[in-house]
């Protein structure tokens, strides 16, 4: 395992900003960290970069517990590089910036030159080698910062919001750079993002943070859909590009016709376990229960309705009518369960 | 804006009110030398003068050069200094009306007890200075253009020790003027010109175990009136050349009409009167007579 975090806690004063009971990240994969602002993404990245020390708990890196003494930390940090959300370049030329990490590692001058040119070429900034770093645009700064990190051929590349505050064109370039680092150089990439599309496109796995704690796979119940007006009053949600994969019909004025990305909130989806409790007047689906798990005072049930939906019920409600794996159940998606992402 | 004007009025008022304290008619401004003030004589004379005449005297103590300068600029009504040649020039140039010879005290040559140059064995001050120069013993000069410094330069010239004249040319009005001073020819080896007051020069010489020339009054204060006492001793005294005459000169009202000439004249005449002269002759510093009246010999 690349990273194993257990009972990790970080407090700033009395405020708990990170509380992760357990998280394992594998080497050579791309992970996306998702969560709202203030969820603890940056704090988590700082811990993974060994820039911050947890208040309690343990981080294991490459199967060894991290010891927080200066000498050891410098060694660890030399395998992991974090690129900031708004990276800062040292005053001096672009070349000197990219050279910095190699210099502190004592890489001989002639080896440096080749590696720096390659890295600058990789991010498409070769023409800027001699430029003053303080005269670059936001997107260029990000690319130089990536080159400065990649030139070190790190074991792990951590990126905080790599595409934030960057124009469309630079976003594409940056995503390609990350992809390339992972596929061609076997670098493990962990990045945080606001864009679900990026996480889906790039990441092998997604980690969702909420209030400093892990949520389940944040891709759960998130779908690109086409909304069509059908029967009077109801709108039809169809899975992207597959008109016949009908997700449901909801009565909501918040939805416009057209394409959208929606998320169905697991705790607001209603399961009708017994046949007779299913109301006739409300459109609903039939699905098969695939998986049942108990977590945090609630029960998570995965139901296959053509696609897999995650549903959360309270424990008392579950006790009333417990569904069984393999059972056919009715699934009702009320208006309030639908959020447009 | 309003606050500003209120403030500025307040500032103006306070300046006016503050200055009226000295704005009364019966205040005489006198510039004198720091050594005169340090001798303590004025603390005896001025209250008596006030008793006799009702005139307050405001004393501004500076080096002789600056004190004379204050007179030349009309900043004061009267000067009370000890540099006879310069005082006479002051009168001759029309800055002052008349020099009143008031009193004299004397200068002494002092140095460390072990006396490496053998000054104590010399007959007079000329021989004393020659001995110091010949031995190359450190000598501290006030070098501040004061009366004492003026005296010291004269003594070096008269002693027969080779001297050199240093000049600096400056511009005053349309004329080029030389500011000159004299020091022994091989000064940079043993002669230190420190440009400070008498007291400072004494402590400096004490620190350096060096010779220096001082007026007797300041020496007595530092030797007998101070802890730790000055560790230097008198090695040459009594030569004629060591006498130090004091004079007072009222500033010329023709040059500066705002001068309180009446008050200045009253003070000058009072100090050379029998009353003033007796007070001077009776003055004792730590049991020792410092000043000898010159106007009415006793």
């Amino acid at each position: 395992m690349l990273y194993e975090l257990s009972t990790l806690k970080k407090k700033f004063g009395d405020r708990v900003v990170l509380d992760i009971s357990s998280l394992s990240l594998e080497a050579r994969k791309v992970y996306a960290l998702i969560g709202p602002n203030g969820a603890g993404k940056t704090t988590l990245l700082n811990h993974l970069a060994f820039l911050d020390q947890p208040t309690a708990g343990e981080i294991r890196f490459q199967n060894e517990a991290v010891a927080y003494d200066q000498r050891n930390l410098v060694q660890l940090r030399r395998q992991v590089v974090l690129v900031d959300q708004t990276p800062i370049l040292f005053s001096g030329s672009v070349w000197k910036n990219v050279e910095f990490g190699l210099r502190v590692r004592g890489v001989p001058r002639k080896d440096r030159a080749i590696r720096i040119s390659t890295a600058l070429e990789r991010v498409g900034m070769s023409g800027f080698a001699g430029a003053d770093s303080h005269g670059l645009s936001g997107g260029e700064v990000k690319r130089v910062a990536l080159a400065r990190a990649l030139v070190l051929e790190p074991e792990v590349l951590l990126c905080d919001e790599p595409t934030a505050n960057v124009d469309q064109q630079n976003q594409e370039v940056i995503l390609k750079i990350l992809e390339h680092a992972n596929s061609m150089q076997n670098t493990s990439v962990i990045f945080s993002t606001h864009y679900l599309s990026q996480s889906r496109r790039l990441a092998h796995q997604t980690v969702l943070l909420q209030n400093g704690a892990l949520s389940f796979d944040s891709n759960e119940n998130t779908f690109d859909v086409v909304i069509t007006q059908e029967r009077a009053g109801y709108k039809c949600l169809c899975l992207d590009n597959t008109e016949n994969q009908r997700l449901g019909e909801v009565e909501t004025s918040r939805l416009e016709k057209g394409s959208a990305r929606i998320r169905l909130i697991p705790s607001r989806i209603i399961l009708h376990v017994s046949e007779d409790s299913r109301p006739n007047n409300i459109p609903s689906h039939t699905g098969t229960v695939r998986k049942i798990a108990i977590e945090n005072n609630a029960v998570r049930i995965i139901v296959d309705v053509g696609i897999e939906l995650s549903v959360v019920m309270s424990i008392p409600r579950y006790r009333e009518q417990p569904p069984l794996v393999g059972q056919q159940v009715g699934v009702e998606i009320p208006d309030k369960a639908v959020i447009v992402v | 804006m309003k606050t500003m004007s209120v403030l500025s009025i307040a500032v103006l008022l306070s300046i006016l009110v503050g200055s009226t304290v000295y704005g009364e008619d019966k205040v005489l401004s006198m510039s004198t030398t720091t050594s005169t003030q340090a001798s303590g004589l004025l603390d005896i004379l001025l209250p008596e003068f006030k008793k006799d005449s009702g005139i307050d005297v405001k004393v501004i103590a500076k080096g002789t050069g600056a004190a004379i300068r204050d007179g030349m600029d009309g900043n004061v009504d009267l000067i009370f200094v000890h540099a006879k040649a310069r005082e006479e020039a002051f009168v001759a140039e029309g800055y002052g009306t008349k020099r009143y010879a008031v009193m004299h005290n004397d200068f002494i040559i002092i140095g460390p007890e072990d006396d490496p140059a053998g000054v104590a064995k010399t007959a007079d001050v000329n021989a004393a200075l020659k001995a110091i120069a010949a031995n190359g013993s450190e000598f501290i000069s006030r070098g501040d253009d004061s009366g004492t410094h003026t005296k010291e330069q004269t003594l070096w010239k008269e002693s027969g020790v080779p001297v050199m004249e240093m000049k600096r040319t400056i511009v005053k009005g349309d004329n080029k003027v030389d500011v000159a001073f004299t020091e022994p020819a091989d000064a940079d080896k043993w002669y230190r010109s420190i440009g400070q007051g008498m007291g400072k020069t004494l402590t400096y010489a004490d620190e350096k175990r060096a010779y220096t020339m001082t007026d007797r009054g300041t020496y007595i204060k530092y030797k007998f009136g101070k802890t730790p006492a000055l560790d230097l001793t008198i090695l040459s005294e009594g030569s004629e050349g060591l006498a130090n005459p004091y004079g007072v000169i009222p500033v010329n009202p023709d040059k500066f009409p705002e001068i309180k000439y009446d008050l200045a004249k009253a003070f000058a005449e009072w100090i050379v009167s029998e009353r003033g002269q007796t007070l001077i002759g009776d003055y004792r510093l730590i049991g020792k007579q410092l000043f000898y009246p010159d106007a009415i010999p006793q």
Binding site: N46, A49, V104, D132 | R192
Partner: protein, 232 residues
């Protein structure tokens, strides 16, 4: 009188007045070495205080800020009492030497250099430190990064300190003693000419002092420009 002083200052300069050059030389020499010594002590001190959080840091900062207001006479008195012939360090015979002035001036400007260094470093974005850390720098290399980024502030601190000592008169007078050719600096020479009533000469010296200070600032700015150009 100002015009006279200006002419006199010019005259002194063109006549290459040896005494004048001696005085300027003593001033520059003493100021240079006291600034150098204070920088050698004050810069690392500023780094240590700025970088570490420790118990009593706030107290240390308050102390340093208070020391900024330390009058030169107080420093002069304390050092005098230590190095005078009757003082603890009397046998070293330091009093009335240039070394004595340097000692006093170093004490005067260490708080200045230290606080200005702390201020310059505190202004540096914390991301510089974190960026250097994540790129694998050790403590020494980080200090160098911060030093580079804060260099304008640090150079400004040194200029300020130099300006303070070259214009300072209390310590030079008390500890140097204004001995001609040995410890007479521009400021003590001016004080002396004032005492002598030679205002024209005093102001002329003042003008030369200002010219010197101006020239030195120009040199510093020139170097700052060089640093900037080098970096590109």
């Amino acid at each position: 009188m100002l015009l006279d002083s200006l002419k006199s200052a010019f005259l002194l300069l063109v006549s290459l007045d040896p005494e004048l050059f001696e005085i300027v030389g003593v001033s520059l020499n003493v100021s240079f070495f006291s600034t150098l010594a204070a920088a050698i002590i004050g810069l690392p001190l500023g780094f240590v205080v700025a970088f570490h959080s420790f118990a009593g840091k706030r107290f240390t900062l308050t102390c340093l800020n208070t020391l900024l207001a330390l009058p030169t006479v107080v420093i002069g008195l304390v050092v005098y009492s230590l190095i005078s012939r009757r003082g603890v360090l009397g046998p070293l015979e330091l009093l009335y030497t240039q070394k004595a002035i340097i000692i006093g001036q170093v004490i005067l400007i260490i708080p200045l250099i230290t606080t200005l260094t702390i201020a310059a470093i505190s202004k540096i974005d914390n991301r510089y430190r974190n960026t250097a850390l994540t790129l694998g720098a050790n403590q020494r290399q980080i200090a160098w990064v911060i030093f580079r980024e804060a260099r304008y502030g640090i150079v400004a601190a040194i200029i300020a300190a130099f300006g303070r000592v070259i214009a300072e008169v209390g310590i030079s007078m008390m500890l140097g003693g204004n001995a001609k050719g040995f410890t007479r600096t521009m400021t003590t020479a001016m004080a002396l000419e004032y005492d002598k009533g030679e205002f024209i000469l005093a102001v002329a010296l003042g003008m030369i002092l200002m010219t010197c200070a101006f020239a030195i600032n120009m040199v510093f700015h020139f170097f700052q420009g060089r640093i900037k150009t080098d970096a590109v």
